[in-house]
Assembly symmetry: C2
């Protein structure tokens, strides 16, 4: 006795059942249901009727095995609770909705080993494409991506060595550009507030670029504050309180993400600090939900929806390209940074 589905529910309906009910061959039913080839209207109607009344649901497993076609696109991201990634998925969905392809999401929890396992699992379903966040992966993961034989796109970041195609922004540049803006606007004692996690490669790169940008202007980071755990208003507030207590002389705070910056902003407003005169703030990402804060936070749009769209386009074009598409994060001045002293109003 073969096992059916878990706990041997009723045996699944097959094409055979529909074919018998409609008085035609399995092949005809298959054609009708997939809308392939020519079938007479009369037969077509009979088949649909039979399928509907029986409640037939096709078995894509068998179909996929027979046709060697799987309309799934594997998407591997670190987490869903970081608002960044749902936005990328949104962009992917926008594009794939116009195609027969469907995204399937797996999460790595910012852990390379988990990521490797998830990629392995997903590839074992033979998807039509693979989208992975970031450029840092274990060697086996990279090997799998290289040998998958399907379009593979790494997203979010272009600072590194992509396995194949790649769509993202340069976080190093993003950090550097922000440093330049801050320096140009006359701030001099600058603090950084961000995650202590080395696994957040993109935030690390922004910090690196940020330091470089400061150095260009003859500045250096006056102080930093790192947290573990999740970003959020509470985290931003606590870090800010801590940092400003230790270094009340700081005149600018650069945050790894807008969520933390928002918490910091609220703290500063509560302490009646004069923004952006006495102290400026900037974040990263440009989260739409934050639009109603008392002040718009200076930030840089991370282009995540656009990244998702471009990646999905590469996948649906079905080319095994190794194109690198670098998007440009837009600097959004907001209200928490002083106007530029010189004439130019935006970065290079």
């Amino acid at each position: 006795m073969r096992g059916r589905n878990p706990f041997d529910g009723k045996p699944q309906l097959t094409l055979r059942d529909v074919a018998d009910a409609a008085g035609v061959s399995e092949m005809t039913v298959s054609r009708v249901l997939r809308n392939r080839g020519d079938v007479s209207d009369r037969t077509r109607a009979r088949v649909f009727e039979a399928a509907r009344t029986l409640g037939y649901v096709p078995n894509k497993i068998a179909g996929a095995l027979a046709s060697n076609r799987v309309n799934l696109v594997a998407v591997v991201i670190p987490s869903l609770s970081n608002m960044v990634f749902p936005d990328v998925l949104g962009g992917i969905g926008d594009i794939l909705d116009e195609t027969p392809l469907q995204p399937v999401v797996g999460t790595s929890k910012y852990d390379p080993e988990t990521e490797e396992k998830v990629i392995y699992e997903m590839l074992s379903w033979r998807p039509s494409g693979l989208i992975v966040a970031g450029l840092e992966h274990s060697d086996p993961a990279r090997a799998m991506m290289r040998n998958a034989g399907i379009p593979v796109v790494e997203v979010m970041d272009v600072d590194g060595d992509p396995v194949a195609a790649c769509v993202g922004i340069s976080h190093i540049k993003a950090g550097r550009d922000m440093a330049r803006e801050i320096a140009r606007r006359g701030y001099r004692k600058i603090g950084y507030l961000g995650s202590s996690s080395l696994a957040d490669h993109r935030a690390q790169k922004r910090l690196q670029g940020f330091k470089e940008g400061l150095a260009e202007a003859g500045l250096e980071l006056a102080e930093s504050c790192f947290y573990e755990g999740m970003s959020g208003f509470g985290t931003g507030r606590a870090m800010t309180a801590d940092l400003l207590t230790r270094r009340p002389d700081l005149d600018f705070l650069y945050y790894n993400t807008d969520m933390n910056a928002a918490g910091g902003l609220l703290y500063c407003l509560e302490k009646d600090l004069s923004i952006p005169g006495d102290i400026g703030l900037a974040g990263f990402n440009s989260f739409e939900v934050l639009d109603g804060l008392p002040m718009r936070i200076a930030t840089m749009d991370s282009q995540r929806t656009q990244i998702g769209r471009k990646a999905a386009e590469l996948i649906s074009a079905n080319a095994l390209s190794d194109e690198v598409i670098e998007l440009n994060p837009a600097f959004l001045e907001g209200d928490t940074i002083r106007p530029a002293l010189d004439s130019a109003s935006s970065s290079s």
Copy 2:
């Protein structure tokens, strides 16, 4: 010539290839890779070696077809951008991580037809379980859920007629309890701010329960304000500005979600309204990211992680139960509502 994967990449490696390389039968390879049955250590080692050097990735499609076992759990939710659902997914993941099961997410965009299609698509992959948000579905969707022959759990909401098992809270009660709290604390002119979308059934139910709760206290809703589109600080702020302009006499604002309430709170603080004295505010959901706001918003914890966990437990128990598990949302007083006038401090 049979098509291989898209664009005929290299032919995929099969068990055969590994078997040949290791000098054993396909069956032995299969046993080693699945860790089933007894295989000598020597053979085992040889097989692993061969699989690793070839870079073999098993074909789960073929495996699933042969074994009639698919370790996937289909999860259908309206959207990923509403922070509620990632939290549910988190709970699901917590539990499934301890099992061989993997969640696969599909989104319905709050549209019953899309939901129906997504359920159909997912069921056609013969998953081991199905979790669907909400109790409102098209008739065909309900039929599919009923006949799927796998454990099915509807989540979030218990006010309605579940197809099978169900884990959630009563949003009607949640609304009613909040109304009671508000009334008990002496507020009398109460406004509601929420989505105009009838597709947001749970918000509608909270509103319904809220009105009932007010009626119990001899009150009725003084005014409402509805929005289209996404919740967020901007939306909350705009609605609040609008409502308070029309009705400056209101002394309480009940929001459909904490995100909007936060925007409203910031607006009220900006206008120097005295909270919770002159005006009180309450939301729904208890979003952790909001913890660092100037005041903690009165809210009700929607238990979404817990809901995800319970649902996943039902699925992994693999019982086709029709159990209804009602969780109790916790009222969180916060700072934006006056203390109770009478002695009791919490709802029934």
